[in-house]
Symmetry: D3
Subunit: 249 residues, 6 copies
């Protein structure tokens, strides 16, 4: 089974982190296929960034979808996820979505913990989009700046453990999601220092993508998630344009 790990950001170092963390839980027969955005922002932090990231994600899937069995949109917040699910025939999983749904099986309420306050509003919209407000104990972020998105995980490790432990007590969170692609892999590292189960976004997404492939869901042929009718479009990268125009066979 081949699963695309589509990082809709331009930072290769984050893709590397995603791949390492994903590989640690993937089935031995699963091949994770990395892809880093050729255009866009170095990391998605705001709603404006996510608008760009959504378009970029569709472009990436258009290029790769015929070569994989499933795809992961590997930015917490899942830019472009709904559109991707319409356009493509393979299962597409969002990293935030997978983390939240997995967390639901580990407790009643999950907290989302991340490294920068700037991410919170976008994550809030993602939470609502998933309809999971009632399962969420809150979204919490470290205060203060960080040095480098590629190293923020080690820079902030201690502070994140502290914050996670605090929200478990103060907000009765049963599970903590460590959110943001740059934190990929951290859950395993700090596992014994937080008193509730941790969920790592990319790891959850890999397992959910594998699960969906195994379940072999049919592509919808009616309703919202059937492939849309052909529509001529302008100024859009070729592969995506072909997908919209249904000239891709």
């Amino acid at each position: 089974m081949r699963i695309l790990v589509a990082n809709p950001n331009t930072t290769e170092a984050v893709t590397a982190k995603l791949m390492a963390a994903g590989a640690a839980v993937a089935d031995p027969r699963t091949v994770l296929v990395p892809m880093t955005a050729h255009r866009g922002v170095p990391y998605i932090a705001t709603r404006a960034d996510a608008v760009i990231g959504g378009a970029v994600a569709l472009e990436m899937l258009a290029e790769a979808h015929t070569t994989v069995d499933a795809a992961i949109i590997a930015a917490f917040g899942d830019p472009g996820l709904g559109g991707a699910r319409e356009l493509f025939d393979i299962p597409v999983v969002g990293m935030a979505e997978a983390a939240m749904l997995s967390a639901c099986m580990l407790g009643r309420s999950f907290a989302i913990v991340t490294f920068s306050g700037g991410l919170v509003p976008w994550y809030n919209e993602c939470l609502d989009w998933n309809g999971l407000r009632g399962r969420c104990a809150g979204i919490f972020a470290l205060q203060g700046a960080f040095r480098d998105i590629a190293d923020v995980q080690s820079e902030k490790e201690g502070a994140l453990v502290e914050l996670a432990a605090k929200v478990v007590i103060d907000h009765a969170a049963d599970v903590v999601i460590l959110a943001g692609a740059p934190l990929s892999g951290l859950a395993q590292t700090i596992r014994d220092r937080v008193p509730v189960p941790l969920v790592d976004g990319i790891q959850a997404a890999v397992k959910q993508a594998e699960a969906l492939v195994a379940l072999k869901p049919a592509k919808a042929t009616t309703g919202t998630f059937r492939r849309p009718a052909a529509k001529i479009c302008t100024g859009i990268p070729d592969a995506l344009k072909a997908r919209f125009e249904r000239t891709d066979g």
Copy 2:
């Protein structure tokens, strides 16, 4: 006062309809500035289309925002609205948002009526994004295909009157929103044939944009809607890139 009417679709004929309907209610001193997308899809119908439309909307505002007092994202569904509100200093109003908020002042519950079933899922997400589920009597669409997006309004006039009248009775709607940029101006035409007030998206948006300009709200300097910090980006049109990178002065 100058208000940008940014149609994030590529169909000029729809922009013309938007301008005509908007002009009918605009203050005499308001100048409506039309803009049609140079790239994207001819009309936004699905979530996938809206992902493209969101990115296009940001590009359009990046080009024009310094020359106007406010902007309207003139596609029902408001692609890119949240991001636009972060990036730019002027008020930005969504057509769906303006229609729904205006409708709230005309009754308890509004119905959204549109010309094509394909639009309903995207409109549903927009409704939830606005947090107005509790005020909505439902989203209803004509069945069957239409000939031409530029003429759908006259082609479907009778059917839309019938549908509107039916949902008023069956779903106790107090107000009907005629949704979709191609229906701009229709509300005035059929006003006497539907037994509750009608709301026309672009007309509501023009009045709301005028209202916001008059209220002179300060741009946030903290929190979610302050202008984001500079972020280097790649493969994005120049004006928008400059806005993200804060090299636009």
Copy 3:
């Protein structure tokens, strides 16, 4: 265009504040028509006060509605608003409603800030009536008594700035509504001292009333907001009695 500013309280000094703040944003061709309640309470603070205020508001509109194009119920909390919208043919706007709906276009979540804790429960009911709980970051009030309702704005200016700034940080409010007719005009004064946009109730209401008049919505002829059938009533002031009994032509 003539807009009635109906203050359902008996304090003339508050009406004066409402008029001054409203005039600052009204279209030059708009005439704001002031009206102060002849009976009732000096200011509405509790649910019991609001019951009285609602009946008084209907009486006031019954007297004046034929002489204006729209009316504002100018007490935050909007006593009698739903009933007024049934009884009269002109658009009627509530001050709280207008403030909250306008705030929705300036951010995701608004905080409501007011000068007295006694007002909070009533405002909470108003928020729920509008179905906007999901958009509200909270309702916050100064502690402690105030000297005079007519001067509370200047007495509490510093404390209100402080409270507004605090809720922006602590509760991630994107917008702050300064609530209560006695605070009319304060938003302009303290605009530069709060780091997010402020909304002034009467100013929002004036612009929304102007917008509705421009949109020319038809009066419902069916459903909830059609004018009710004639009903004989007893012990009610003449103009309102005539309106209920449909003897007013």
Copy 4:
């Protein structure tokens, strides 16, 4: 124990119906004290009527509250209930509230069935005010006019049985509330013709009022439902004015 049955409408015949139905379930030691509004409308059907009815209800309670142990606001929709609960020291129960809360103990979801479509919008607001939307299978009304509010119960008996039976099937209602003071007593009559438990508003209210008196809840001395501070008011009937001004001892 003395319980005031305050009918905030002017129709004595309805008060008689309320008294008969209430007496059928009241404790033998309970004295039900009837009171019919001296002013207002013959029956409350719309939001506008309810605004009047709320003020009238406060006036009625102001006159009688010292002579009873509890009071019932005996119009389905409970006009003025929140304000009454602030102003007076005795327990005050609303008829709709009591019916809905009692119904919650007889099943998961209750339907509200009434004799006139005109009542539905006001009942909907009452449902939301109580926060019980999630427990309600819907509000349903007979179509068509009725002859006389005092006799509507017998006129519509067959149609109401049919409607109740239908909503039980179509909307999976576990309980049916027969709503509206003019239907008082009907539940007993048609009990064997509807396949789920019925709730009669005044009967539920009498039992809830008795229950609250037995539980001897303290009057709040802080927060929302403490008695409000004295406030000078104008143009309000004497007993109510004295209550607001705290000159009533």
Copy 5:
């Protein structure tokens, strides 16, 4: 009238507390019939305990239901309540349910205060099951261990008064429910030391059970709460087995 007070825990001392508190408010003609679980846990604190308690509650009602007019499941959290309401023909009331519904008639928002943090998650699920999240100001518990479930009420009296008073202020609770069977009777004791009305679970349940008996609701013959069809079962105590198998006449 005979009302079963079924304590689904094995602690007789708690049953004694329930009886004493219930008797203090019961109608003089009401006979409260005590029953303590023969099997199960000494007190229900967690979801796992509640699973056991639910089965035990059904067994207890199966034994006693023909000898009483109504039954109370006398553990806060109401284990087995829905199932009991299906299986038996008499009214069945939950202690938590009765407390919460009664509290709704004493204010807008109730706080639930209890003696041990371990109870909070289960109570939270009970709150949601009742659909009353919107009426609840929060569930609050003392920190720290207690000595003996039978004496926890006196041991913690002072701390509970303090906690109740604090949540009234900090969370704007209009009413406080003292939750947990071991606290039965405490409300009367501390009534004058908390500034809002208190609700005692067993007292509320006794009054609600009396009310339901007086209202004489018919047993559903269709839908969710009709008695289920006969179903052969295995390894279940005789009386309950007979009830499931409908061999009990």
Copy 6:
């Protein structure tokens, strides 16, 4: 990896169906361990049945949990799930939960389709317990009786296809969950006759259990889902008693 398939009903034939459907999607290295309830009801249809089933499920897990890596409570509705998650250290997955969460990744809204109307109320409570009301297009059941729970799948195959296809159109469901253990395996059979993806409960549960095992979540050591403190209990099967009393090592 060993996964317990705990069928809390007494019908062996249903366990066989669960095993066959589960095996069809399980990883080749996964061993599914079947277990059928020794006591209880032949199939769980009502809330009362579910109360019994919850206790039985805990007993089954107490017997087997040390011999497996994860467990599935294999009755749609997930009796005892919350309690099981507290008591045991291994991941425990509910069949309904797994189906609903998996469905969330295949569309916006899922419909639940089942073979008997009697199951709907219990499934509704399960849906609310999971907090997924906003994602559900409705719960739909065939009308009429069925012959034999073990064969209902083939008996009703055609009718279920028809019902599924209908709800896709009428209620805009993006995904259909075939609910109830007796329908295990049906999704694969009818996959090509329903125009949206189908979810099979046991198959989803097997994949989610595998996923959770791979993610290696730590058992909570604080909060709601830590193992409860030892509690002496009475009249409970030995293995479960030992687990409650913490005498099981």
